[in-house]
Subunit: 367 residues, 2 copies
């Protein structure tokens, strides 16, 4: 079975494990009909999505255990990763003021609407944001609860390595996310070549994507496979060397889709990343290669929610002209770096095949 | 040594364990001079405070292990409870728009000021709030990391009971906090006797205070004492029956101080809780016993940040006249309920003495 076919088999199981775990904790915390809208917002935030991190965990587990994907299912680890992802997205969506995700209203929007319908006192927007902070916190609680359930199945050494890695993962996301929002606040002076820093953008991509979405989930899965300690640490080093460059390439591909992706396929409006002012590697490469007058055109769109379609079109053309090729070269180099590391690694043929297929899924996707 | 003397000995140890644990995770997550202000906000949010929850954990441990307070120190559990408390306060302070805590600027205020000084793009206030969401998330990460370090020291059954209880605790806080902010949005119709619900206020106090600040920390400590399973479950049942009413009384005492406390002693402006519009049991009792015209006077202050000192004075007198006595009776009844449960409990003389002293600390304090 191909990797992507196995993923299709696992996804509904991951959905189920995630919602079951969450429902269990809602009951334990005393959720009742009072505050029903909170329960609904929590459940809806954790439903749907590509379940990418839980899938990566299964890849790591199978590499560690020498099993084929589809021979095993990890309900607790799946729930832990997807509930944490849901938590981070809820807080992200407050920060980005995103009203929709996957076509559904985000929790802060849902709860603001509830406030409005009930004609409560105060501002619906403020209430929605504040309540959604707590929705994200609850999902974080559920994620750590599921992670602990997983850790209890492991021997002492594996449990220690697992829980530390899980904490490293979410701590790194909070820090990376902070650095990301700081980058977006830095003034865009058209006369400064370094107003958008490529090094900073790569650093954020390392924390927020390569480590978080790819390396850590695969490593957590590998740790759970409970191979002998020496074997585990060898595998973790291989995963780190191969998946870090591919994880970066994964984020860079995402950034390209954020500007050039087909809205029909990505589900996001065209040029969304430009209007949000995301300080991506793609933008840094573009900025560096642009003239002050091109940079001024870019600043009419970057972090300007009211930018017109024609302004977005002009900015998109500048990125296409000045940054996109160098960006594709960077992606290609990162892909090659990962393959070179895989070449050097002491792994079996089946593992090699799985990882090579994973690379295509990570870096050649269209949505 | 008296309980409060033992607490004075433990407090600096708890401070140290908390900041050591946090610094360790900052290093592991890759914190550097970039984003230094984030590190500072995280560290400052976790410093200071009464360390009440960590102290309760030591009470629980000593009751479980049959040791005197001061014969043991629990660094991981202390850090876990105090880091979680710091995380919850950071998010609380965003929600309440509180600019100061313990005389120091809150994280959202610190980071907004940093934004202003750097002359970054966008709104300093928005940046401060968004960055502080992430400060709270980082502290939550650190709390769970410390809790896992504690769990690793326990045998399997205790580790399971410990991690579940820790998750129950923070999940319950998020839900309780949501119900609390919902209560504050409900319109205050002077002609409705039930506009401020006493039952809802008591329910919030149960989740957010009695369980969170008293019962759960003591239970977590008791679980760590690793007594034989049967003995642990007997102790947990005793702690629950004795500390739940006392924990409620603790919150009700806090609510009385929030209206009538001496600002010199509590560190909060007089009438602060009224101006914040907190839906306390004290307010519910007052509201129920007030005439529509008194209720109108109350609504000039409740959740009205611009209320004048004379309006606050008038509202305070209404609470003194109509609610305070019934409130003191409720506190006395809760204290008696806990003592009655303690009377029935099968515990030694020393445990009885410690718990009785704890009751005074919880319910007879002035700050």
């Amino acid at each position: 079975m191909s990797l992507s076919d196995s993923f299709s088999v696992l996804r509904p199981l991951i959905d189920e494990a995630t919602s079951e775990h969450l429902s269990g904790l809602l009951v334990r915390a005393g959720a009742s009909t009072r505050g029903e809208e909170f329960t609904q917002a929590v459940l809806s935030a954790a439903s749907g999505g590509k379940r990418f991190r839980a899938l990566m965990a299964h890849v790591g587990y199978c590499l560690g255990a020498g099993l084929a994907l589809g021979e095993v299912f990890l309900p607790h680890l799946s729930a832990a990763l997807e509930l944490y992802q849901a938590s981070a997205l809820v807080h992200d969506d407050i920060i980005d003021r995103a009203n929709e995700r996957r076509g559904a209203p985000t929790p802060h929007r849902l709860l603001a609407d509830h406030h409005g319908r009930r004609r409560w006192m105060g501002s619906p927007t403020d209430f929605g944001e504040h309540a959604a902070i707590l929705v994200g916190d609850f999902l974080f609680s559920a994620a750590t609860d599921a992670a602990d359930a997983q850790a209890l199945l492991l021997d002492e050494a594996a449990a220690q390595s697992f829980t530390r890695r899980f904490a490293d993962m979410h701590a790194e996301v909070a820090l990376g996310q902070y650095l990301d929002i700081v980058a977006e606040q830095t003034p865009l002076d058209p006369h400064r070549d370094d107003a958008v820093s490529g090094a900073d953008a790569l650093d954020v991509a390392l924390h927020k994507s390569a480590h978080y979405s790819v390396v850590h989930p695969a490593a957590l899965g590998a740790i759970c496979a409970s191979a002998p300690p020496g074997q585990v640490s060898t595998l973790l080093a291989i995963l780190d060397s191969v998946l870090t460059p591919w994880g970066l390439a994964f984020q860079l591909r995402d950034d390209d889709l954020g500007v050039f992706g087909d809205p029909q396929v990505t589900g996001k409006p065209a040029g969304d990343d430009l209007r949000e002012g995301k300080r991506t590697v793609l933008l840094a490469l573009t900025w560096e290669a642009s003239t002050p007058s091109e940079r001024r055109e870019l600043t009419r769109v970057l972090a300007v929610p009211t930018a017109s379609p024609s302004e977005i079109g002009a900015a998109t053309r500048i990125v296409a002209r000045n940054g996109r090729d160098a960006h594709e070269e960077t992606i290609a180099r990162l892909v090659a770096d990962g393959h070179a590391a895989l070449q050097r690694a002491n792994v079996g043929d089946e593992a090699r095949r799985v990882l090579a297929e994973l690379c295509s899924l990570l870096t050649a996707r269209r949505s």
